[in-house]
């Protein structure tokens, strides 16, 4: 009986975790968080690469 309860608890935890992850992914999707993060990263990398001294040759 005790083992059964433990198994049920584990299953409940896994379901709760899956629901939580799904909710997080949905939030990332609907709030466009992925693109917002990429936009910031893009700005940072653009700043870095435009400041690198280059060996310009015509």
């Amino acid at each position: 009986m005790g083992i059964l309860i433990i198994i049920l608890k584990i299953i409940a935890c896994l379901i709760a975790l899956a629901v939580f992850l799904f909710a997080v992914i949905q939030a990332v999707y609907w709030l466009n968080i992925d693109n917002k993060i990429m936009f910031l990263l893009h700005r940072i990398f653009n700043k870095i690469t435009s400041r690198i001294p280059r060996d310009r040759k015509f």
Partner: protein, 512 residues
């Protein structure tokens, strides 16, 4: 000037940006499709970092053209914005194929780049310049091809509208007039600024699409320390007298690759690639047949990008290209047969001609959403659509030469007025009722013929709108200015009212 505030369907975007606060709700079914396919797209994009995280990070912190690829997710959103039902599924599948192929090409460039350390891939790579088809590599199964230039400015600008002019400013500062072709100017800027990856066994330069490409080849050759040959094929491709010269030149290119790499041209492998190319072309012909129907579901932008990829990057080398084409063909046949209308806002059917602006690839998406103008055919997509011989060696090489001679932008922009006038035949064939002509202000090829085309259109009573743009520099003609030109035409010539007034005049000049 007071900043324009977004309203209506633009309200979900930040003012001045093409970056949404939240995603669009398209109803339960379509939103689920969007979400499901978005997950797949994230997985595909992640492959770029997964393949070689160290080199990817080095590239992101060294190459200025690399960071815009972080915006590929946003680009997919922009290009599928107008799609619903079957059209949405098709758009996602096309964009996923393009994402996958581009990630593969970028991974290949990064892995071969000797700037980040010596490697085994570099000497097995043959670089093709501009939009010359790499089909010959099919005959060298141990080699890989790289069609490199578009990745550094055209596709980067498609992801971030401000990516390309960083490079054109560099070449302008060296004295090149800023009204010269932005496509070639940008790659010169990349070369001058030492931002070309160091890789490759040899370089095949080309005169496609025009003499401007020949000019930029010289500057690219100086930077890349690899042997090169000019893959120049005759401009007058309809002239049978040029055939002998063209075929001889293709043979020269094959010999050059053999000499540089130590490989031997394998005819069996080459014919296998040719068969694959012909299959891709056959599918495209069937899609064009279906495009005549009002129930043709394929949205314009993914279609344009897929076909451009097929011609300039795959040409039978990418097996998935035909596979995805067949899948999409089946869906299109179903829509046409069962009369499923997934483009219900359509009020006008248009043929699009000229080189589209890289910084506003999704202009057709906006035309549909704002005015109900459905782009059913793109003239540039009809560049080379002949079949190549699958058993005769001489005929097959002639086919390769023709493929180069009729590269994208060449046949219908600088390939002579007769070819450009094909637009009026295509206009009839696809049952269009207007023509949109992208007027690249830096392309002398198309510029010289605008008056003649306008006269013919007037004689035949065909409404034609000229959308001026600067190819990769939105500071010269912004996206909003492009929209204004179209709005004026729709109000005054077509006597239409917009479907969505919030899309008439808005600012998206600041980012992505």
């Amino acid at each position: 000037m007071a900043e324009k505030k977004n309203f209506g369907s633009r309200k979900r975007f930040y003012n001045g940006y093409e970056l949404a606060r939240y995603r669009k709700w398209k109803g339960f079914k379509d939103s689920w499709v969007d979400f499901r396919e978005w997950l797949t797209e994230k997985k595909i994009s992640g492959e770029l970092l997964k393949a070689d995280p160290v080199r990817a990070f080095k590239a992101l912190t060294y190459y200025h053209w690399m960071a815009p690829y972080l915006g590929s997710g946003s680009m997919v959103d922009r290009t599928i914005d107008d799609a619903h039902g079957e059209a949405l599924f098709i758009a996602h599948k096309y964009m996923q194929f393009l994402l996958k192929s581009n990630v593969k090409a970028l991974v290949q460039i990064l892995k071969s780049d000797e700037r980040f350390g010596e490697n085994e891939y570099s000497k097995k790579t043959v670089i093709f310049e501009q939009d010359a088809s790499p089909i010959l590599i099919g005959g060298f199964p141990n080699l890989q091809n790289a069609v490199e230039e578009p990745y550094f400015h055209i596709l980067a600008t498609a992801n971030d509208q401000h990516a390309g002019h960083y490079f054109t400013d560099i070449i302008d500062s060296y004295g090149l007039p800023s009204d010269s072709c932005r496509n070639s100017s940008a790659i010169c800027g990349v070369a001058i600024d030492d931002q070309l990856p160091y890789y490759g066994a040899c370089l095949i330069t080309s005169n496609a699409p025009c003499d401007s490409s020949v000019m930029n080849s010289a500057i690219v050759e100086r930077r890349l320390k690899v042997p090169s040959i000019q893959g120049c094929t005759p401009m007058r491709w309809k002239d049978e007298d040029t055939r002998e010269y063209a075929v001889a030149h293709v043979k020269e290119v094959i010999k050059f690759i053999e000499d540089c790499t130590g490989e031997t041209f394998d005819w069996d492998a080459f014919f296998k690639t040719v068969r694959q190319y012909n299959e891709e072309t056959r599918i495209q012909h069937e899609l064009w047949e279906l495009a005549k129907s009002p129930y043709y579901p394929v949205p314009s932008v993914p279609n344009l990008l897929y076909r451009s990829f097929q011609l300039s990057f795959s040409s039978g080398l990418n097996e998935e290209c035909a596979k995805i084409g067949r899948e999409m063909l089946e869906i299109c046949e179903k829509c046409v047969k069962e009369k499923i209308n997934v483009r219900p806002k359509t009020r006008h059917r248009t043929l699009v001609c000229g080189a589209p602006s890289s910084y506003y690839m999704h202009f057709s998406t906006w035309m549909y959403e704002c005015w109900g103008v459905n782009t059913v055919a793109v003239l540039n997509n009809m560049s080379h659509h002949e079949f190549i011989s699958e058993d005769d060696k001489e005929e097959a090489l002639w086919g390769v030469a023709q493929l180069w001679e009729q590269a994208i932008m060449r046949r219908h922009l600088v390939g002579g007025y007769e070819n450009l006038l094909e637009m009026f035949e295509e206009y009839e064939r696809f049952n269009c009722d207007m023509i949109v002509f992208y007027d690249d202000i830096t392309c002398k090829g198309s510029k010289s013929m605008t008056g003649m085309i306008q006269d013919i259109a007037n004689e035949r009573n065909i409404p034609i709108v000229w959308i001026s743009h600067d190819l990769i520099d939105p500071r010269a003609i912004s996206r909003n200015e492009m929209r204004k030109q179209f709005n004026d035409f729709m109000f005054t010539v077509m006597n239409e009212t917009p479907l969505d007034e919030s899309l008439l005049d808005f600012d998206d000049s600041k980012g992505w």
